[in-house]
Symmetry: C2
Subunit: 219 residues, 2 copies
């Protein structure tokens, strides 16, 4: 299966020339981030909460406190939806109507279960940390039993998904192109600034490679 | 009213020392962005979609095509929720458990109505554009009737809201602080790169001040 099957749930209705159902392309959008907006229903209201996540194959892992209202709601409703978006540019057209942004946005829908098996749970927590910063897991103090038990991990198995991607320039009406109005794009990106060591740390501890590499890649 | 009243809907349950109910502070989080995650329920599934927005007092404006499934759903359910988050830093602790991010995240709940009055609708569209780029509205080609009629504008009146803010450093267990593990924060921010003029534009049109000012402020 290289594409998600289109259904009422995942079909992109508006601007469908920007629709993406290809699984690899959707995964690349998911893998370029680590914070997703997970939606749940609380007393009839839909609410979206930003959550750290990790992905392995068709599984998305989320973690939180064992009392996390949102995670508990997802377990109860047995399904979840998550949206991950990257903003790439502002599109400044000659008309207000054609103002837009370039972006990559994926929305997935899946079934939810709690991860109870200790090995699986550890693997899921490592996956979430890898998405935040690759390799960091190898360098931190090992998790103790109390922390492990205080952490709730849930697994979303992706059932279907779709994405919308806009990655073109200004798209004005042809008759507007000669107007004396500046049009163009402003690229937008999220960057990392120089890491700031914790003041309580021994001054002889040098910044490790996995942190430097993150900074070099994202600065 | 300086604070939103806490209710089951907006009360921050986990990490409530980070909870914010102050209206000015919540507005400052909303005003620092222009893309929010609007949640709606589609056939029993909660879905979050990134949307451009603008705010004036207790009103949030969204716009889209008259066929936009999400906007039409919001009008039908007469209520909406939107979350706006700014990621400010990665928090790299000595333990995996205390890894975190610094962020400012506001979630609002409100009632929804369609904006039909032409003056109000124009004001709302200007507000949304101002949130993307201040002053841009003054420089674009005036909206024509066809565009105006193709655009659906909805107004969310904020009924309640809350925010969570984390803006402190590494918070490890005291007994971990002497471990030989690098800990610290990596500031994260969203930046703008140099504006790229549309190729179809007359080369004599200089980049205007409102675009330059945006770039200078966000680079």
């Amino acid at each position: 299966m290289e594409e998600y099957t289109k259904s009422k749930l995942n079909r992109v209705k508006r601007g469908n020339k920007r629709a993406v159902y290809n699984i690899d392309e959707i995964n690349s959008i998911l893998d370029a981030g680590f914070i997703g907006y997970v939606s749940y229903i609380f007393e009839g209201n839909a609410i979206a909460i930003p959550m750290a996540y990790g992905r392995t194959n068709d599984k998305i892992y989320l973690h939180g406190s064992t009392g996390n209202r949102m995670l508990l709601s997802l377990l109860e409703q047995k399904s979840a939806s998550m949206t991950v978006t990257h903003l790439d540019a502002l599109i400044l057209a000659r008309s207000g109507f054609h103002h837009s942004v370039n972006y990559r946005s994926a929305t997935l829908f899946g079934t939810v279960k709690k991860v109870d098996d200790p090995k699986e749970k550890e693997m899921a927590l490592k996956c979430v940390m890898d998405f935040m910063m690759n390799d960091r897991w190898e360098y931190v103090r090992e998790m103790n039993e109390k922390e492990f038990n205080q952490t709730l991990v849930i697994e979303i198995t992706i059932q279907t998904a779709s994405a919308k991607v806009r990655n073109v320039g200004v798209n004005d009406e042809p008759e507007d192109e000669s107007l004396p109005i500046w049009a163009g794009i402003i690229p937008i990106k999220q960057i990392a600034e120089m890491p700031v060591p914790d003041e309580k740390m021994d001054k002889n501890i040098e910044i490790p490679n996995h942190v430097l590499e993150y900074y070099e890649k994202h600065k």
